[in-house]
Symmetry: C2
Subunit: 140 residues, 2 copies
Amino acid sequence: MSFNLHPQLIADCYVLGRDQHCQLLLHKNASLPWFIIVPETEQTEFLLLDSALQTEILWLASQLSDFMRNRLGVKKTNMATIGNIVSQLHMHVIGRSEQDVCWPLPVWGHLNTQTGYTESTVIDYTEILCCEYGLTAAVA
Amino acid sequence: MSFNLHPQLIADCYVLGRDQHCQLLLHKNASLPWFIIVPETEQTEFLLLDSALQTEILWLASQLSDFMRNRLGVKKTNMATIGNIVSQLHMHVIGRSEQDVCWPLPVWGHLNTQTGYTESTVIDYTEILCCEYGLTAAVA
């Protein structure tokens, strides 16, 4: 199946890797750890996916949550599928803490700071997620 | 197990019913259809629940999505677990449309209108969700 990421997701995110049927993105705003899982499907509603794909997405979300807990010391995860602006189905998996710049508000429409990742951090995240959490790296 | 709903959820919502391990709430703000599923657990992170309880929550969310699609003509669902302010685990299942008062923004921190349900609408929703979608009604 030919699948193309939505241009807004390409503009906003790094593609870190993929699982069997999902792409794993990292939002370029480094103010807080913000991952996005994009299943390669035309379906726009998470609850209308077949259960196997729902399970794959939740497994990926769990891996990201474990990564943030173990490597970044982040214990709180905000998880959401919204898609009001970008209709292509995507799940946000965002690490939150009382010390972050947006706490306690959700990030959507409330995150007003913009910082970037260094290239080495993006490479580190990719390698850790691939080697320790079972993702396949993105083809450059 | 003794389980008490968080006071903020009690203040904000009607309790419509319950499933095996979850309570089903309807947010009192009728500006758009906004349901909240509360699993009866001390765990605050959805991704750390056992898979059986995750599955039960997603099944309930699917029932709500079907109800909104079939009865309210709402095709878009926003689904999220946030919990930055109310830490008790709860999943938002919100019906959205391009005609609603908050579109395309997410409701959290952006919904500035407040309207109420009639008692008969709350009773109708409860009855439909119980009879057609398998929920058990709340004990009065």
